[in-house]
């Protein structure tokens, strides 16, 4: 569980602070890793644009989080949203954050990386067609109006956490929020023009695997840092982040074998991410044994959503709903069954005699998707009313990279003529000398 909200006098612990500094850097790496993962999954002509959607999240959410987002999420115990006392980083200093043993500044930076990756995750629903400008506007609005609010509910002192809902590292604000927002975004932006007509294949599965591997690496900071120190909760979450995705990966490969007689690499990469998401909410609350069970059981519904979604007309392109929304939802619910006070020191689940915990978890599973979906739908409709969300079909044919960035991921280098050859005019480079 996150910081208890009662103000208590704590001292800075150097060990805790050191680990949280490292964790913050690990989580920031995840956004770039996600860029690799996403870029590999799209066609070559859209690889840069897809990567840039993730990179732009660092610029946008990094700023909005410092200006108002952090305050709305982590100031006070308002039911729905926090206050504005920390806006513009007022009073965010070297003093320890209430209920933790780390400086408030480190706590802020750690939480900023969460907001950034959540915004980046949604881009997976709209890649290969959404214009870059509207994406940046939407990302800014979403980071404040959806992420900050849900982070307040799940982490910061809002009605869910105060009501007893357990969410260790972001099943609510990160995973369910991005997953269900992605569906709304895919519906509002609409399908790619070639969707359902021709096969739209990943252009580089090696990038996909590399991205997934780096995401897993970063996730040790994401989950392992969510205990805000080096205490038991962090250690438990860290180890569970090793175990649960391994179980998911194994189960996924078996399901692939059963279904198609072949173990796919893109499937394995997806499994790694699904496994990390499954354990995200539950990491510090369930035993390592149950983490393995979660990895195995949770894979099955996620796999089903991945197989079923492309048969629908919703072009939720990179399956954020399956890998994040569905997996996060399962992780949140699973806590209600198997949480063990002997491991987490906070609460038991149904299997250990406390059925009311399951009710608290169910509340989050009902409220979060509705809020995320409805708000994203409205926000994108509003942005779309001011500026078109998509370019003409012609642009989509040529690829987003050359249209919106004026670059290519894989330029041939042939036939490129320097337009401003300041150096070249003085010293022309001979093509061949006799």
């Amino acid at each position: 569980m996150d910081a208890p909200i009662i103000a208590q006098v704590t001292e800075i612990d150097t060990g805790d602070t050191a680990w949280m500094l490292a964790s913050t850097a690990l989580v920031l790496l995840m956004t770039v890793a996600l860029g690799l993962f996403y870029a590999g999954l799209v066609r070559a002509k859209n690889a840069l644009n897809t990567f840039m959607m993730c990179v732009s999240a660092i610029a946008i959410a990094g700023l909005t989080w410092a200006l108002v987002g952090y305050s709305l999420a982590f100031d006070g115990t308002g039911d729905l949203v926090g206050g504005l006392d920390y806006a513009f980083l007022q009073d965010v200093t070297f003093e320890p954050r209430d209920g933790t043993t780390i400086p408030h500044l480190v706590f802020f930076a750690f939480q900023a990386t969460f907001c950034i990756i959540t915004v980046a995750l949604i881009s997976g629903a709209v890649v290969e067609r959404m214009r870059f400008g509207p994406w940046m506007v939407f990302a800014a609005l979403w980071s404040v109006l959806v992420y900050s609010v849900l982070a307040h509910w799940g982490f910061g002192g809002g009605w869910l956490i105060e009501g007893g809902t357990l969410d260790f590292a972001g099943g609510i604000a990160v995973e369910m929020a991005s997953g269900f927002s992605a569906v709304a975004a895919a519906i509002v932006v609409g399908a790619r023009k070639d969707y359902g007509r021709i096969g739209l294949l990943p252009h580089n599965s090696v990038l996909v695997l590399l991205g997934a591997g780096l995401l897993w690496f970063g996730w040790f900071g994401f989950n392992g840092g969510s205990g805000f120190g080096t205490g038991d909760a962090s250690v438990l979450a860290f180890t569970n982040t090793m175990l649960c995705p391994a179980a998911t990966l194994f189960t996924w490969m078996i399901l692939d074998l059963i279904r198609g007689r072949k173990v796919t690499a893109v499937g394995a990469a997806t499994a790694i991410i699904a496994g990390c998401v499954l354990i995200t909410p539950a990491g510090g609350f369930i035993s390592p044994g149950w983490a393995l069970v979660l990895g195995v059981l949770g894979t099955i519904p996620v796999y089903f959503v991945i197989v079923y979604r492309p048969r629908t007309r919703v072009d939720e392109t990179l399956d954020v709903l399956a890998a994040h929304g569905a997996a996060g939802l399962i992780g949140i619910l699973f806590i209600g069954f198997v949480a063990q006070e002997s491991w987490n020191g906070v609460s038991d689940g149904w299997f250990y005699g406390n059925i009311s915990q399951l009710g608290d978890q169910a509340l989050a599973v009902l409220a979060t998707p509705i809020y995320a979906f409805v708000m994203t739908f409205i926000l994108l409709k509003l942005v779309g009313a001011v500026m078109p969300l998509r370019g003409p079909d012609h642009d989509e044919s040529l690829g987003m990279d050359s249209i919106y960035h004026g670059e290519e991921a894989y330029p041939s280098g042939e036939g490129a003529i320097l337009v401003t050859p300041e150096a070249g005019e003085e010293a022309p480079v001979p093509v061949a000398q006799p």
């Binding site: 012609h394 690829g399 004026g406 670059e407 036939g415 490129a416 003529i417 320097l418 337009v419």
Partner: protein, 117 residues
């Protein structure tokens, strides 16, 4: 017998394949080529260097057909590849002296007739 060479936009290659399939044209070679046909240059910037890219990616189809199939093949490529903008590509029809199917040793008309077609 003729060899029909069609050079088209890469983003229209799938449409050409579909049109050829509908026209019952089988036996196709495709390759990625680069070239320039009078369209506007693409301007790209990498850090401080702004460059004008004068050659564009194209896809080149090569289809060996019997004389009866020349018109349907040309028509299918046109239908699939046309956008109306400069840079849609060209089609060349060239005479073919001799064709051999390697597997059977069949020559000429028999060699360009699809198996079972």
């Amino acid at each position: 017998m003729k060899l029909v060479i069609g050079i088209v936009r890469p983003e229209k290659a799938n449409d050409v394949l579909e049109a050829l399939y509908r026209a019952d044209v089988r036996g196709i070679s495709m390759s990625k080529v680069q070239g320039h046909g009078g369209e506007l240059d693409r301007v790209e910037t990498y850090r401080g260097s702004t460059v004008k890219v004068e050659v564009n990616d194209k896809v080149r189809f090569e289809i060996g057909v019997s004389d009866d199939f020349v018109e349907p093949t040309v028509q299918a490529i046109c239908d699939g590849a046309r956008t109306g903008d400069v840079g849609d590509g060209k089609i060349f029809v060239v005479p073919v002296e001799r064709v051999v199917r390697i597997r059977t040793g069949e020559t000429d008309e028999a060699a360009v007739t699809p198996v079972g077609g």
